[in-house]
């Protein structure tokens, strides 16, 4: 069989993504974002996102087909994020994907968003090492996963017990008067700051915490600590050194993420770490992970920033792998599952 041509749809949050791949080759990755409509609310407003998905859906499909230079009729299968994510937002993508499957007479795969974040790296660096240790870090999730075969299931090793890493970036950005989404703005501000200016706490790294939460994360205490520090400065009538605080905060987040990822990989005897999710676009995280993993004899794979954030290509990439490995398709009564467990790759 020639490599499958798969169209993937992603609407779990505020990006309407439509990607088209042929096997591991990326042909198109069209994204329409409603992020600007959410900026003044300091976070994603579900109903605003759902409305934007409905408006963007068909135009984004058209744009992806145009870029890929294919007709919809050529597609072998449709893949769509069925969860986890915002319920109303997921539903728009799932309903559209079903209409495509129905109108084209092609199979439908309702896939797990997190597994798609893992699979997307195949488009950039070829087949995934089996097993690999995946660290997914974004505004909605922070988890460490053991991935044996991304089409069958992944084993969660640890996850955040409070805020997601990306959420901490958003909240700290707000404290520092930087715009939403916080990630890229903190990254930029930190470039000119000192990462050792403030020694912010590293969550769940004490000996006691490591007994129960060796591979888990906690970012809520860090965020509170930054808030206290900033408030104390303001109360004292002193200016807040935004670049230094941003750099010190970012260092604390990356330090914990990388430390635990490397520890997990070593513990599992895994030689490859794969990083995905919006926070994987952070330049400090990428540099620190590569450096420290190398010291431990571990390879790191991170897709380019555009493929780390939510997009349709990642869904298409996982879909193509499912088709290639002959996995069963979903049925047309597929539900959108806002809390789809990571162990369910195809719903």
């Amino acid at each position: 069989m020639t490599e499958p041509l798969v169209l993937g749809i992603e609407t779990s949050c505020d990006e309407t993504g439509v990607g088209i791949v042929r096997g591991n080759t990326l042909l198109a990755d069209a994204v329409a974002s409603s992020v600007e409509e959410h900026a003044r609310f300091g976070g994603v407003v579900p109903e605003v996102a759902s409305r934007a998905h409905l408006e963007a859906m068909v135009p984004t499909i058209e744009r992806a087909c145009g870029t890929a230079g294919i007709r919809l009729q050529d597609v072998d299968a449709i893949a769509v994020t069925s969860g986890p994510g915002l319920a109303g937002a997921l539903l728009v993508g799932v309903a559209s994907a079903k209409a495509l499957a129905l109108g084209l007479g092609k199979p439908l795969y309702g896939v797990n968003h997190l597994a798609a974040h893992v699979a997307v790296d195949q488009l950039e660096h070829g087949p995934l090492p089996e097993p690999c240790l995946a660290m997914l870090v974004s505004g909605g999730h922070s988890s460490l996963l053991r991935v044996e075969d991304v089409t069958l299931g992944v084993e969660p090793l640890g996850a955040t017990i409070d805020d997601a890493a990306g959420e901490a970036f958003d909240k700290v950005a707000r404290l520092l008067g930087l715009p939403f989404p916080g990630g890229p703005h903190i990254d930029r501000a930190a470039q000119s700051g000192s990462s050792v200016y403030v020694d912010f706490p590293r969550g769940l790294t004490s000996r006691r915490d490591l007994e129960r939460h060796r591979f888990d994360f906690s970012f809520s205490g860090l965020k509170t600590s930054v808030a206290r520090w900033v408030e104390a400065r303001e109360r004292a009538g002193e200016p807040v050194p935004v670049a230094d605080v941003a750099a010190s905060f970012q260092e604390a987040v990356c330090d914990v993420l990388v430390r635990k990822a490397v520890d997990a990989a070593s513990d599992q005897g895994i030689d490859d770490i794969l990083i995905g999710g919006g926070v994987a676009a952070n330049t400090r995280l990428r540099a620190m992970a590569t450096e420290r993993a190398a010291a431990a004899g571990i390879r790191v794979r991170v897709p380019r920033p555009g493929l780390c954030t939510d997009n349709g290509a990642m869904v298409a990439a996982l879909g193509a792998e499912l088709v290639a490995r002959g996995r069963d398709a979903s049925s047309l009564d597929l539900p959108a599952d806002s809390s789809q467990p990571i162990t369910t790759v195809v719903a």
Binding site: F41, L91, V92, A95, L100, G103, D333
Partner: protein, 212 residues
């Protein structure tokens, strides 16, 4: 062949018509879960009538007003299917469909109101004349604020019988009637855009709260 669907009420409704003949129609047995039920219902409808998807020539969809989530399922399905098949997609106000059915089945012969469930103790409603012509724009209000003592068509009457004692059938919009109205060119055709009538619930955050 015209495919009609309405997801503005708790029940999904689909129908298939050749010219003005409704060949088949179905309403979901389960309420809610529009996302799960709509596509299989369309597939089953095509299969029961032995229709190939390529024979479809147009799609008509109820644009509400109605609860947002279900409404979007219907409209994104209609738009996507229309795009794939390269056929036009028409929107029709779901209250108009209820009004037309009530008049054409002889249930009302005077001015009346169509009122449906808008949740949060409110109704979506509009006033109609005896030939089912709409006299007011669809609106969302508390039942008492509708200020209407005449006949009321739609689920609003059974939900608020004290305010609307003169309730009449039908309760929920049917895709069969939607198909008939479009085929007979009695419907006012709209873009397949949802009638939300409410702004999204969203509040801009205040200053970060103090932690110390």
């Amino acid at each position: 062949m015209l495919l009609a669907l309405d997801t503005s009420s708790p029940q999904v409704s689909v129908a298939l018509a050749r010219d003005a003949d409704v060949l088949d129609e179905a309403a979901s047995e389960q309420t809610m879960k529009h996302g799960e039920q709509l596509a299989p219902m369309v597939a089953a409808l095509l299969e029961r009538t032995g229709t190939d998807r390529g024979e479809l020539t147009a799609i008509a969809a109820g644009v509400g007003p109605g609860p947002f989530t279900g409404l979007r399922v219907g409209l994104v399905t209609a738009r996507t299917l229309g795009h794939v098949l390269g056929i036009p997609v028409y929107g029709v106000c779901s209250l108009d469909v209820l009004a037309a059915e009530a008049v054409l089945t002889g249930d009302v012969a005077e001015d009346f109101v169509v009122a449906t469930d808008a949740r949060r103790r409110e109704v979506y409603w509009a006033r109609y004349g005896p030939r089912a012509e709409r006299l007011t724009d669809p609106a969302v209000d508390r039942p008492l604020d509708v200020d209407w003592a005449g006949p009321v068509v739609g689920e609003g009457a059974s939900l608020y019988p004290a305010t609307f004692p003169l309730g009449l059938a039908p309760e929920r919009p049917s895709a069969g009637w939607l198909a008939r109205l479009v085929a007979e060119e009695r419907a006012t055709l709209l873009e397949p855009e949802p009638m939300y009538l409410r702004r999204p619930d969203a509040v801009a955050p205040g200053k970060p709260k103090s932690v110390s």
